[in-house]
């Protein structure tokens, strides 16, 4: 085993390998996958001196612990959390040197949900269809981390990172999701579209990388027939039979048979990745930028 590797001391509740995902294969039923909070993952890579397409670790709520077998630069971004090296406090959101054999601990998120851990050289598991991302819907890519696993690291880039600190958005107290109506808003009562954009929803604990589930007023359909399966996009607000909206995140299915009442602007999705269960969600209807509307 090469010393360019990382031993997993504590895998945490759900820690996965993520990069920018595998778009371009939706017609084969392959989800795009990739880091849910893309800007946080990209920042972690910049701080660790990695190219933007390097694979990082995405943790869920309670972090993880890692022991690199060679000296590396790491950076932890996304959900704010305590970071220690061999028990001594280290910086969050900045490059941290971790010597060979030392233990980096990424603690439980103080706010937000997902922390991103970039390691110089990137996580170098074998790519699948051009991406190292773990896709929890279809099972493509590496399995979620387990205690004792060893992950290969790529060769570090020459030279030092050009950034050493950068501002990051705070995880949201209230999640505001801008939506454009459609494509299937006509499958719902006019009241339903008004409800969606005027009433308070909350993030459901059943949320995951596939979708941000919500609790709140059920949206009533105007038609009862079955919608033939159709292609789904990132940010689609799909309404299953129970009437509560689900916002599709990176591991969403490529086709689906429940009507999509609206689509969330992609710029608002990283905040959705950091919204804890119980966070209030407000859907705000906005005018489509280029199109004049259906």
């Amino acid at each position: 085993m090469t010393d360019r590797a990382l031993a997993v001391v504590r895998a945490g509740a759900l820690t996965t390998v993520q990069d920018r995902g595998r778009p371009g294969h939706a017609h084969l039923g392959v989800p795009r996958s990739g880091a849910l909070d893309g800007p946080a993952a990209a920042l972690a890579n910049r701080l660790a001196g990695n190219p933007p397409d390097a694979a990082v670790l995405e943790t869920t709520l309670d972090g993880c612990s890692l022991r690199p077998r060679s000296t590396v630069t790491v950076a932890v971004t996304g959900a704010p959390c305590p970071v220690t090296v061999d028990g001594r406090p280290a910086a969050w959101g900045a490059p941290v040197r971790v010597r060979a054999g030392s233990v980096l601990d990424v603690g439980a998120a103080v706010r937000g949900v997902r922390a991103y851990v970039a390691v110089s050289g990137g996580i170098a598991v074998e790519p699948v269809l051009g991406s190292r991302s773990t896709d929890l819907l279809s099972g493509l890519g590496p399995a979620p981390l387990t205690d004792g696993a060893v992950l290969p690291l790529g060769p570090p880039r020459e030279g030092r990172a050009r950034v050493d600190v950068a501002p990051q958005p705070a995880p949201p107290e209230e999640l505001v999701l801008r939506v454009t109506p459609g494509p299937r808003d006509d499958w719902f009562t006019p009241d339903a579209v008004r409800l969606l954009t005027s009433r308070a929803y909350h993030v459901s604990p059943a949320s995951n990388r596939i979708g941000l589930r919500t609790t709140g007023p059920a949206l009533e359909r105007a038609r009862r027939d079955e919608l033939p399966s159709e292609g789904m996009v990132l940010g689609a607000v799909q309404v299953p039979p129970d009437g509560t909206p689900v916002v599709f995140l990176a591991d969403h299915p490529t086709t689906g048979g429940y009507p999509v009442i609206a689509v969330v602007h992609p710029v608002d999705l990283p905040a959705a990745a950091q919204a804890r269960p119980g966070t209030p969600v407000r859907f705000v209807a906005v005018r489509r930028r280029r199109l004049s509307g259906g």
Partner: protein, 209 residues
């Protein structure tokens, strides 16, 4: 054709039949290949084709609204032959639903030329059309918690082959040893939208093991 905007950079094109959707899909692939339709994903489905990742959806929206479709999709480039043992646990139910005997049901299926209308559900799972409408079958009332990989199955107008073990409510009529999806292979998926498919009966070899 209806052109439905989807968010900021996608369009859902809706037509009135599966045949039209396949013809539209072929036409969109042609346009992308010749460079006149820059788009990240072209995702066909039952009655629609999704264009996702358009840099400017307004131009294709205007162009496509007036598109006259060719009457039928062009001939597929290739035919994939899937060896199948017609030994599925639901074959007798399907045959009864069709009002014919089991042997005849297998023959009807094997004599049909299929085409992959679209993919979804799992990587490499194709929704194959080709059986006449009178052979539509309902889904099972109780889905199975685990359908074995390689199961050849029917639901509604579609035939599908499970690329890996998963829960499923389709009627299982047979089994194939062909590996439909292998991410280490190029291409990973044997079936992609537009592929022609024939099922070739092979003799059952008896229970494995």
């Amino acid at each position: 054709m209806r052109v439905l905007p989807v968010g900021e950079d996608a369009l859902l094109l809706e037509v009135s039949s599966g045949e039209e959707a396949q013809a539209l899909h072929a036409e969109l692939l042609r346009r992308r290949a010749e460079g006149s339709l820059p788009v990240r994903e072209i995702v066909p489905a039952a009655r629609t084709v999704l264009l996702d990742g358009l840099s400017d959806p307004s131009r294709p929206a205007a162009e496509l609204a007036s598109l006259a479709l060719p009457p039928a999709p062009p001939q597929a480039r290739e035919t994939v032959e899937i060896p199948v043992r017609y030994d599925g646990p639901d074959l007798a139910d399907v045959a009864a639903h069709w009002g014919i005997c089991v042997r005849e049901a297998a023959r009807v299926h094997a004599d049909t030329e299929f085409r992959v209308a679209f993919c979804g559900f799992a990587p490499g799972f194709g929704y194959l059309t080709g059986l006449p409408a009178r052979y539509d079958v309902p889904r099972r009332t109780t889905p199975r918690t685990a359908v074995p990989a390689g199961s050849v199955a029917l639901a509604g107008p579609y035939t599908g082959v499970y690329p890996r073990s998963s829960p499923g409510g389709w009627q299982l009529i047979g089994t194939t040893d062909l590996v439909l999806w292998d991410h280490a292979r190029v291409p990973a998926a044997l079936l992609s939208p537009g592929t022609r498919v024939r099922f070739v009966p092979v003799a059952a070899t008896g229970p494995a093991g």
